[in-house]
């Protein structure tokens, strides 16, 4: 919402400057977006008369001028404008002035031997348009020496505020003036409607065929008018707020839209078919050629204003081109209507039409003052266009908007945190136009003014904001009734508390730190949240850089990683490559790795803790810690570089599971990783026979190729939701046997298809009492072995618990190991 300071002063008596006004507006919730002082840029420019203009002695295209700038001096000016001539009045800039059109600060100088002490300006040089054909020429009555900005009416700052959706009343200069006056800045000037004496019966009649289309409508014709251009003051105001002046009739409707927040429409009576204008719902197939040059296909949910030929306007949203007024109009019909705000909002959104009328009607306009506003508009048309007014045609009725609200004074402190004397609360409400209907020591009851559709909304038949309750379905009926009663009781009061606080500024409310609940607070994280944070750190500590990537990606990319259900495809993606909820964060990370590779960084390690989406339910979103590694390990003299491999990914997943408290002794690796992994170099980590905690492996070459990843790539996923909360148990006393452990190595020859894990498990289980640890320290496959065989070498730690073992006893354990391993895997001891 834009307005100028002088426009505001039509409604507000104040000496305050734009800055002070802007500060107050922001403080009371009408946030100032900008204050544009157009005069500031033109400050140094004075109206000047060219007294003498002769040919420059040394330049064909230049003239030497003598210029009077009103202070008695005659300045010498060299000028190239073809229209510079003696006697003309123009605009001069003096040395030191900044010329907006050229970006140069003017200096006095000499041009081909003639001094130039000033500059005569074109419109473009002043930053006021594109005209650069010559210097500006002003009419003969312009006062030489006066500031050009003042003369041109540009010394009127333009203030722009952003109006929140609840404050339809602040989309008018008068509404803003009222709020400022209520906040103590200035005094609201009285306003009353002029009296209009009708001279003839209205040529058009209103009917409301469908009450959904319109609540109440008034109309009046004016005949014998002349629709020329508007007077300068009106044109300037509209230009200042960014509207293009069109003709007096159109400009007048725009003026009232902004001055009083009252959108109006004017029909050209000669162009209306028939003698009736009907408010009805659009019929199938009907279209509207609108004022903006576009044609809209109307729906049965759109309310229209129709004559005998069909829709002439989308009521409250936009007028039609056909019956609009132009310079040939001699009789107009003014429409002043009240529409259902919800219907206007939906129609406007359906057709994507943003107009000043829609902005006001959907927020709610004053439902009471329609007759007064119609009279005011009639008066201005008579004043600017002449003619005589008709009687008023009316249909529908004023809605039951009158309502009261009660404020218990203690609530200003109890809800708003501000101790305010009751009298001050009452005074603030009264200044806003609330009328006191009852008052006692503890409370005040006020009548809500007609323009405040945001207060006690549920008690008004004309409802703009608020949409009633949307109670949770699971509430039992008696609970639902109780909370609904609670809302009815306290919502209007909260509205009033807000008004009282707002006018004084929220900075007046003393801040109070939250009361301490416990001297030492409870943990802020749930165990699952703490685990996610730990996962992040564990992975980063293993050299991975944590990434955060979009939860959606291209459907074709998603399809590489699993199901792409239609239910997870965005209806309105922002780009075609961001349309499918991702099946795993690994997809995002591999895409990121490919981008990094394209930038010259083929070896990266990236991790992300984020969602993978299976369906649209809350349970359908899995929390996953994912990571990818690509390329090669770093080159180093002590450690040769090598390609990353599946064991790196397995190492990441295992380290993470261990850190998160998964029961590592019971975790096994098995085939069965998703299809986007290399089928022979990937696996899952399971707890028990079914529960999959993680996947890991090399990325399938086809997937790599599809993503443009040339080098090696491995990945893992850890399913954070699948890991049970570790039980918080006291750790028992550690077992610290006093006897030295015995270490024995065994090398087994085993079939290549045997899982190393099976062998290790068999060895470990050979004597549960004595074998403390088993680890694989060598694996050999090669020429020296029979084909298809590998050699696995393990170290077994035997921990005596009661006494030192004899060699024979150790030998017994060894035999058990060889036997158990042989039985489980078919391995034989290498000799």
């Amino acid at each position: 919402m834009r307005f100028t300071l002088s426009w505001l002063r039509d409604h507000l008596e104040t000496e305050a400057d734009a800055r002070a006004i802007a500060d107050t507006l922001t403080r009371i919730g009408l946030e100032v977006e900008s204050v544009e002082d157009r005069a500031a840029a033109l400050g140094g420019f004075r109206i000047a008369r060219v007294v003498e203009a002769v040919q420059h002695p040394n330049a064909d295209r230049l003239r030497a001028l003598k210029v009077d700038i009103g202070d008695g001096r005659l300045l010498s000016v060299v000028c190239g404008a073809p229209n510079a001539r003696a006697g003309m009045i123009g605009v001069a800039a003096l040395p030191g002035a900044f010329i907006p059109g050229t970006g140069i600060t003017l200096k006095a100088g000499e041009i081909r031997g003639v001094t130039s002490e000033a500059m005569m300006l074109s419109a473009r040089e002043m930053g006021l348009g594109d005209d650069h054909a010559g210097i500006v020429e002003l009419p003969g009555d312009a006062q030489v020496g006066e500031s050009y900005a003042r003369w041109a009416g540009l010394d009127d700052p333009v203030i722009e505020i952003s109006v929140t959706p609840n404050r339809g009343d602040a989309l008018s200069v008068r509404g803003i003036a009222r709020d400022l006056a209520a906040a103590g800045l200035g005094r609201l000037k009285p306003w009353s409607a002029p009296a209009i004496a009708p001279a003839y019966p209205s040529p058009l009649k209103w009917t409301i065929e469908d009450p959904r289309a319109c609540l109440w409508v008034l109309g009046r014709a004016v005949r014998g008018l002349r629709n020329g251009p508007s007077p300068e003051w009106l044109r300037r105001r509209l230009l200042a707020i960014g509207l293009r002046p069109i003709s007096a009739l159109v400009d007048i409707t725009n003026f009232f839209t902004f001055d009083l927040g009252r959108p109006l429409h004017v029909f050209d009576v000669a162009k209306v078919k028939g003698a009736t204008l009907a408010m009805r719902m659009a019929r199938p197939g009907e279209e509207l050629a609108a004022l903006n040059g576009r044609t809209y296909a109307l729906t049965a949910e759109d309310g229209v204003i129709a004559d005998a030929a069909g829709p002439e306007a989308l009521g409250g949203v936009i007028g039609g081109e056909h019956s609009g007024c132009d310079e040939t109009t001699t009789e107009c019909f003014i429409e002043c209507a009240l529409f259902d705000p919800v219907r206007i909002a939906l129609s406007g959104r359906r057709h994507d039409i943003r107009t000043d009328a829609r902005a006001r009607f959907e927020r709610g306009v004053d439902p009471h003052l329609l007759p007064a506003f119609l009279d005011a508009a009639t008066r201005m048309i008579l004043d600017l266009c002449g003619g005589e007014p008709s009687e008023v045609s009316e249909a529908g009725a004023e809605p039951a908007w009158r309502r009261e609200a009660t404020l218990r004074f203690h609530r200003v402190a109890a809800l708003g945190g501000l101790d305010l004397p009751p009298a001050e609360s009452v005074a603030r409400l009264e200044r806003l136009g609330f009328a006191v209907t009852a008052r006692d020591e503890a409370s005040v009851t006020v009548a809500v003014p007609s323009w405040r559709n945001d207060i006690a909304v549920d008690r008004s038949a004309y409802r703009a904001g608020g949409g009633g309750l949307a109670l949770a379905r699971e509430l039992p009926p008696e609970r639902a009734a109780a909370v609904a009663a609670g809302v009815a009781a306290v919502e209007p009061e909260a509205d009033l508390v807000e008004e009282v606080l707002r006018l004084g500024g929220l900075d007046a409310v003393p801040p109070v730190s939250l009361p301490v609940l416990a001297a030492v607070p409870e943990p802020a994280w749930t165990p699952a949240q703490a685990r996610a944070a730990l996962a992040r750190r564990v992975l980063a500590a293993r050299g991975m850089k944590e990434a955060v990537s979009f939860a959606f990606l291209a459907r074709e990319t998603a399809a590489l990683f699993g199901e792409t259900p239609d239910s997870l495809r965005l209806v309105n993606p922002i780009a075609a490559d961001l349309d499918q909820m991702r099946p795993t964060p690994v997809a995002s990370l591999l895409l990121a790795a490919a981008r990094n590779a394209a930038r010259g960084f083929p070896s990266v390690a990236l991790a992300e803790i984020g969602g993978a989406y299976r369906d649209t339910t809350p349970q359908g979103q899995a929390a996953i810690a994912a990571g990818v590694r690509t390329g090669h390990t770093p080159r180093h003299w002590a450690e040769p570089s090598r390609p990353v491999d599946a064991m790196d990914a397995k190492g990441d997943a295992m380290a993470l599971l261990a850190a998160l408290g998964a029961p590592m002794a019971g975790i096994t690796a098995a085939a069965g990783a998703p299809g986007w992994y290399h089928p022979g170099r990937s696996g899952v980590l399971r707890q028990g026979p079914k529960l999959v905690l993680a996947t890991f492996g090399e990325v399938h070459p086809k997937v790599r190729a599809a993503l443009g990843l040339d080098g090696p790539a491995v990945a893992f996923e850890v399913f954070l939701d699948a890991i049970a909360d570790p039980k918080r148990r006291r750790k028992g006393v550690p077992e610290l046997p006093p006897f030295q452990p015995v270490r024995r190595d065994f090398a087994f020859l085993v079939d290549g298809s045997v899982a190393a894990e099976a062998l290790l498990r068999a060895a470990k289980g050979a004597d549960k009492a004595l074998i403390a640890e088993v680890s694989l320290f060598d694996r050999y496959a090669g020429d020296r072995l029979p084909p298809g065989k590998v050699s696995l070498a393990i170290e077994v730690v035997i921990q005596p618990r009661e006494r030192t073992l004899t060699e024979a006893e150790i030998e017994v354990v060894s035999q058990k190991i060889v036997a158990a391993v042989g039985k489980a895997t078919g391995a034989v001891l290498r000799t």
Binding site: R536, G543, M581, L776
Partner: protein, 359 residues
């Protein structure tokens, strides 16, 4: 079609089907379509065919050629897939082998994303004020994201959200949550008051330019009690902002505003210098978050009687406060996973945010 051509086609088809590998297939191709191939020879001989038969013969030869080429291509794809499968099968490793004892990298190579860092700092500071962290799903019902928060379908505020929708019946389409506020609803429905929670998380809006990302992060705050006032809202947020930015006397300004889910509503500005970007000084104001007293209808929608319970809520952009705190100029790199940016902007995995260590 003549018999010679028909038998050539049949023989070739059989040879293609029988080709055991790509090399054999290539041999078939050369034998038929190569420079001295059998079909090539027939094509060369076309000139000798009497003029009246040439057209028909030419068409038949071309059709045969196309059919053979298609069969070759189909078989090639088949053999390639089989070769890849065979290669992958041959590449099989023992996935049960124990992984290496150490990762290929160390904490010096790794880093924590600045968004995560800020979330931890938020947790530390609000945790000290008795808040716990609540979370909710990214895909929300229309009711949780809008209806329960007093944003009815037609409300002007709702258009400003530019919501991403997923398929579903009209009016009940699931949405990608446009704010973390739906978790307010989930919390009030499951946890009896008093309540103090913050909700950091991903949020989504259909907006993509230099200062907007279609996915970003917010932190929501919700405090419900019997006697929580707007004074507490101010105190809590001032306490937080000064701790988070580490400026003891950071100027904080509260302005009346409007959100459908709070009343009174306010926007919060902090003092800064617009030119230098320095926080805490300079006389300019920077909008940083929205807040207000929870709207009675929102409380009621969750089954809380607004005569009994009241409180405040706030929401702020995590990227925004992160950018301000660390002087990060551009939003887009947050989601691009450029390792250079992550290394530069990320934080040390071994120093978690803590109040005792200083946030």
């Amino acid at each position: 079609m003549t018999d010679d051509l028909r038998s050539l086609e049949a023989e070739t088809a059989a040879a293609i089907a029988a080709a055991p590998d790509l090399r054999a297939l290539e041999a078939v191709r050369i034998g038929v379509l190569g420079r001295n191939g059998s079909l090539t020879a027939l094509l060369k001989a076309l000139g000798a065919v009497p003029a009246e038969q040439r057209r028909e013969r030419g068409a038949a030869l071309n059709a045969a050629k196309a059919a053979i080429e298609a069969a070759l291509e189909a078989r090639r794809t088949e053999l390639e897939a089989a070769a890849l499968e065979a290669r992958l099968a041959a590449e099989r490793i023992d996935i049960t082998l124990p992984p290496r004892p150490a990762a290929p990298g160390t904490a010096a190579d790794g880093s924590i994303h600045p968004i995560s860092r800020t979330m931890e700092e938020l947790t530390a500071i609000f945790g000290a004020m008795g808040f716990t962290v609540a979370e909710g799903p990214d895909i929300e019902s229309d009711w949780h994201n809008f209806g329960a928060l007093n944003i009815p379908d037609h409300h002007p505020a709702r258009q400003d959200h530019d919501t991403f929708y997923l398929p579903g019946p009209d009016g009940r389409r699931p949405v990608l949550r446009t704010h973390t506020s739906p978790v307010q609803i989930r919390t009030m429905l499951t946890q009896p008051p008093p309540i103090r929670v913050i909700v950091p998380g991903r949020t989504f809006r259909a907006d993509h330019d230099a200062t907007h990302s279609p996915m970003f992060h917010q932190v929501e705050g919700l405090v419900i009690g019997r006697d929580i006032t707007l004074g507490h809202l101010k105190g809590c947020l001032i306490d937080f902002l000064r701790a988070f930015f580490g400026i003891r006397d950071l100027p904080v300004r509260f302005r009346s505003s409007y959100f459908p889910f709070t009343e009174p509503s306010m926007e919060v500005d902090i003092g800064w210098n617009r030119r230098s970007g320095e926080l805490g000084a300079g006389g300019d104001w920077l909008e940083i978050l929205g807040s207000g007293m929870v709207h009675p209808k929102v409380l009621a929608n969750c089954g809380l009687d607004p005569r009994e319970w009241q409180g405040f809520a706030f929401g702020m952009g995590i990227e925004r406060i992160t950018m301000l705190k660390h002087g990060i100029p551009d939003l887009r790199p947050f989601y691009e996973s450029d390792v250079r940016w992550l290394a530069h902007t990320g934080s040390d995995p071994l120093s978690p945010a803590s109040l005792h260590g200083g946030v």
